[in-house]
């Protein structure tokens, strides 16, 4: 009797039920891949010196994470346990190759900027970690959502770190993107032409000197440490005892 009601509920469950929505929203804050699960810190922090490459990287990771989860989940009953890591690596590597070639064709300057870090999505622990922890044991649709959620949680951190680093390090926002903003400071350019005066109007903060520490990759560590601090002060349950 109990089983029939259960199947009925499962049938009636809409695509975006509350449980499914939690799969997507939970990784954004309280179960964030970087600050809580400590997965995937590796490959992408070096790209966060500007917002736009971080944004592109975030999209790439969401794509790879979601589809790797989906395909692994579809194949989960046919993969032998002994070779599952190799199978997962092949799935991920194929998706990353797709992203790499697509980015090379669509936006070559950003592709140059990201250089090897797109390829390093393969060894990004988030993708592997979610495949092992979630996709191998769950249905395709839920795994897909879990992949999107974790990719977004990761991308969110990248963009926030990129925001602070670019704002204080270069005095610009979204430099190199279709909508570059010239906010504070002298705005040393990457691909945009800042030598033409009046192009972005007169900035209020002309006295601001760019903080070169924020351009260095170590700044990402400090920004993330502050984020962890804030997050765990807000929710003391997340503090680890060790």
């Amino acid at each position: 009797m109990a089983t029939t009601t259960e199947t009925k509920i499962a049938e009636k469950e809409p695509w975006f039920s509350k449980k499914e929505r939690v799969l997507m929203t939970d990784p954004l804050l309280d179960n964030n891949p970087i600050t809580i699960q400590v997965l995937g810190v590796c490959s992408a922090l070096a790209v966060t010196s500007l917002v736009y490459p971080s944004f592109v990287m975030a999209i790439a990771v969401v794509f790879v994470c979601a589809f790797a989860n989906l395909f692994t989940s579809l194949l989960r009953n046919t993969i032998p346990k002994a070779v599952r890591l190799i199978v997962q690596l092949v799935i991920i590597a194929t998706l990353v190759t797709l992203v790499n070639e697509a980015l090379k064709a669509i936006n070559y300057p950003v592709y140059k900027q990201l250089s090897v870090y797109i390829g390093l999505i393969i060894t990004n622990c988030i993708v592997m970690g979610r495949l092992e922890a979630f996709a191998m044991a769950n249905k395709p649709w839920r795994s897909f959502l879990d992949g999107i959620g974790n990719g977004l949680g990761y991308g969110l951190i990248l963009i926030v770190v990129g925001f602070f680093r670019e704002l204080f390090g270069k005095g610009t926002l979204l430099a190199g993107s279709p909508i570059p903003m010239f906010i504070i400071g002298a705005g040393e350019d990457y691909w945009i032409d800042t030598t033409t005066p009046g192009q972005w109007g007169n900035t209020l903060f002309w006295w601001y000197a760019n903080n070169n520490l924020m351009v260095m990759s170590v700044a990402a560590m400090f920004v993330i440490a502050v984020m962890i601090w804030w997050q765990r002060s807000r929710n003391p349950k997340l503090v680890d005892i060790s």
Partner: protein
């Protein structure tokens, strides 16, 4: 020879894999709670980087570039790394059971350590030759080893100090990595030309 030392020093100190490029951060943060385990993992990384780098160089040069299938690079490299790790694991188990016991669980983990794949990809994008890529592999591994030992020692000490609760553990590890990165930046004052065979812009 001068070139070899030059690239070794550069990749170990000036462009440290962890502190300058954040490669291999996951295992760096997860396994740096005690010096002993950090030592084991560090050794394993030197080992695998030193082996996979020349092999990937040969494969890239004679197969991928030769037959113009560079787009297969990711799949081929990761397959080489996975199989090399497996091979190294078997050889170490046969030859030296004590080393195998020391490295133990860390060897299989290395497959997904970004430092290994990252090293191979950097090697391609910087157009190193065979000797240079061996030097880069060994130097990069050594730099990784140094960094993880240093942070493990600091974290062991840190256990007895009064850190704000919200920063305990992970937060402090991030801050420390940042500070260590700053400290390592001062090593960029080393002039590689001292060791001879200086090749600019590489």
């Amino acid at each position: 020879m001068g070139d070899f030392i030059n690239i070794f020093i550069k990749s170990a100190f000036i462009e440290n894999m962890i502190l300058a490029y954040f490669l291999g951060m996951c295992s760096f943060l997860a396994v740096s709670k005690s010096v002993q385990t950090a030592f084991g993992l560090g050794l394993a990384v030197i080992f695998v980087l030193g082996i996979t780098m020349p092999i990937n160089w040969l494969i890239n040069e004679f197969l991928l570039v030769n037959f113009e299938v560079e787009f297969l690079r990711f799949i081929v490299f990761i397959a080489v790394i996975a199989s090399m790790v497996q091979l190294v694991e078997m050889v170490v188990e046969k030859v030296s059971p004590s080393l195998y016991a020391a490295l133990g669980i860390f060897l299989p983990l290395i497959t997904v350590n970004c430092a290994i794949l990252g090293g191979s990809l950097f090697m391609v994008s910087r157009e190193y030759n065979l000797t240079e890529s061996i030097a880069f592999g060994l130097g990069g591994g050594f730099g990784w080893f140094l960094a993880i030992i240093a942070i493990a020692a600091i974290r062991e000490r840190l256990r007895y100090s009064a850190v704000p609760p919200a920063l305990r553990g992970l937060g402090m590890a991030f801050l420390l990595t940042g500070l260590m990165g700053l400290a390592f930046l001062s090593l960029s004052g080393i002039d590689p030309a001292v060791f001879g065979g200086y090749t600019p812009s590489k």
